[in-house]
């Protein structure tokens, strides 16, 4: 898996620099929660090795769309997904697809930091272990260290790997969760408001981290903070009451949006 990721970095640095490959694609995605429709025909492309921000007022469906990408909606009773979601041209909702593999390839970081109530080491090692990614203890140690380093938390926890992950501060917990997602070497990382429970300093650290992770991973982030979307993302998609209002390069969205609703939302007139 590691080799694969490295290979794809080279691919990224090769000629097609200006036209990034489309990693994931939503095609007329609809979602129903029981009788209530939450998403109405969303078409959205997620380019590889970029950060795509999903913005919009509460209840607009951005988290719902995010959870379609790794089928986390499956766990919600009465949730039905229509349309098509693809990962590298593969239909994610194909009955033949292996959900465990999909979620290994499309990792997720949640709104509230949710480390397992186990040691820091175990938090990271759990994913690689269940997927059988390492052959030996030494190899596992290496994966754990690498993941923690990539998540910029290694220096803070290297001396207390055996302590509980729940004993860390909120910001550290969230970076631990990012490290846990990275440890499985996913291709895409979904982040559902990863900084909403963090203070400004921790938020700055996580944002810096997101920018670095873009080198190796494709990132989709849901955020309520306009500044955050502007700071970390290359592309932005604006949702409103279940519809995709518009999407485009972040700088264009924030300076010259096509839709009035986007304009209003970004300037703080509603939402």
């Amino acid at each position: 898996m590691n080799m694969l990721t490295e290979a794809s970095i080279e691919q990224k640095l090769s000629p097609m620099k200006n036209e990034p490959r489309i990693k994931m694609r939503g095609d007329k995605v609809t979602v129903h929660y029981g009788e209530k429709q939450a998403l109405f025909g969303v078409d959205l492309q997620i380019p590889e090795h970029q950060v795509t921000a999903l913005i919009g007022p509460s209840g607009c469906g951005k988290s719902t769309f995010l959870r379609c990408l790794n089928r986390m909606n499956d766990t919600i009773d009465g949730c039905r997904v229509g349309g098509k979601v693809t990962l590298d041209q593969e239909d994610v909702y194909d009955p033949k697809i292996d959900v465990v593999e999909l979620r290994a390839r499309v990792g997720m970081v949640f709104q509230k930091p949710n480390p397992f109530p186990k040691s820091i080491y175990e938090n990271i090692a759990y994913g690689p272990r269940i997927h059988g990614l390492t052959k030996s203890k030494a190899e596992m140690d290496e994966v754990v260290e690498k993941s923690l380093r990539k998540a910029a938390i290694w220096d803070e926890v290297k001396d207390r790997l055996s302590e509980s992950g729940t004993g860390l501060s909120g910001g550290q917990q969230q970076r631990l969760c990012i490290a846990r997602a990275i440890a499985v070497s996913p291709e895409v990382i979904l982040m559902d408001e990863p900084c909403s429970a963090l203070d400004p300093i921790a938020t700055a650290k996580v944002e810096e981290l997101i920018d670095e992770l873009r080198q190796n991973y494709t990132i989709v982030i849901v955020t309520h903070s306009m500044q955050q979307a502007a700071r970390v993302s290359q592309r932005t998609a604006m949702f409103h009451i279940g519809y995709l209002v518009e999407e485009g390069p972040t700088d264009k969205m924030f300076t010259n949006p096509d839709d009035k609703r986007t304009q209003d939302y970004i300037t703080g007139r509603f939402g």
Binding site: G107, M108, F110, N114, F116, Y126, H131
Partner: protein, 431 residues
Amino acid sequence: MAAVETTGSGARTIDWSSDEFKKRRSRRYAADRRLQYYGIAAIATALGLLAILITSLVMTGYTAFTQTMVSVQITLDDERIDRNDVFGANWRNIVRDAFKAATPGLETADERAYFAMFTNNAPFLVRDRVVADPRLVGTTVTFTIPMADPVDQLAKGQIDRSTPESQRRVSDQQIAWFDGLAQQGMISRPFNTGLFFNADSRFPELAGLAGAISGSFWALMVCFFISFPCGIAAAIYLEEFAPKNKLTDLIEVNINNLAAVPSVVFGLLALAVFIGWFNMPRSIPLVGGLALALMTLPTIIIVTRASLKSVPSSIREAALGIGASKHEVIMHHILPLAMPTILTGTIIGLAQALGETAPLLLIGMNAFITSPPAGILEPATALPTQIFIWADSPERGFVSRTSAAILVLLGFLITMNAIAIFLRQRFERRW
């Protein structure tokens, strides 16, 4: 001035310190205090009733924890005991002669009343000890033998010497003999180990709880090993896998109903199914344990489901998010986190099963059985049924023994609940 005034522009000024508002607030505080007092009163009532229960049990039961014994020297003569057949010696006469020697000048006509002062089983107690250790033959050994129940009551002051002779169970002459023995320093009242190490007996001085304790132990083992895995598996299926439809709703309603079914019904069921159809023997802990398992199962299912549900969904999502399978999510994360609560609930369920009497009566675990069971297939009684049997027995000695048995049962219950509380506090997690 009114408490709330509306000014011309529509804004309201509120005078929080006005009498009207002060009175209103003090009424609200009074309601707070009343609620607190109701709670304190309820707890005081409960504690008071508990104190009355425990006190009355201790008052009647404490005497059963000691037993009046007589220490008598018995000469184990070579002439009377054949070393090759220790068992076959005339133990009755050997023991009686030793008793007679302790009270000189005993007339033949009085012998019957005299021997009734000692436990009927004295010859067997002596015999069993010598059989176990034949080297004793040819020596003189001091044996400590329980006194019969009426004398035991006399020694403990339960029988008043001033009541007329015709109204008490020991005669004046027996009292005189007893005082004679006491003067020689032959009477002692040590801790009644027989209460814990003897099985049931017709004679109160020999009756103990060993059979009941081991019967309860085996029945609870059966109950635990059936209801715990079944309960957890059923709860995991219902909570994590079962689709939400009419059928699972029906199952859920029925499980909740089962938890409320009177235990005597489970006893009847066990009687009909296990003894009636499967022809299992009566009075065995296996059947008793199965009946108790039927009773405990719904409790464990309900507790397990509640504790699985109480594990925060963030943990579930975290595991799913890195590609854990359903089995891994449940076995690695949800179940371990729910386990302390499940164990607590299970122990409380087992404690309930330990005190359960009705189903055991129906399957015959209230039989008179004089040896402790060696396993789940031998007839046995259980603690609550032993209490039931003793409470039914007329001998005076069983009155205090019944209370003592209840105290022992309560002791086990308190221990189990304490373990449950310990587990809960030790492993309680905050997220």
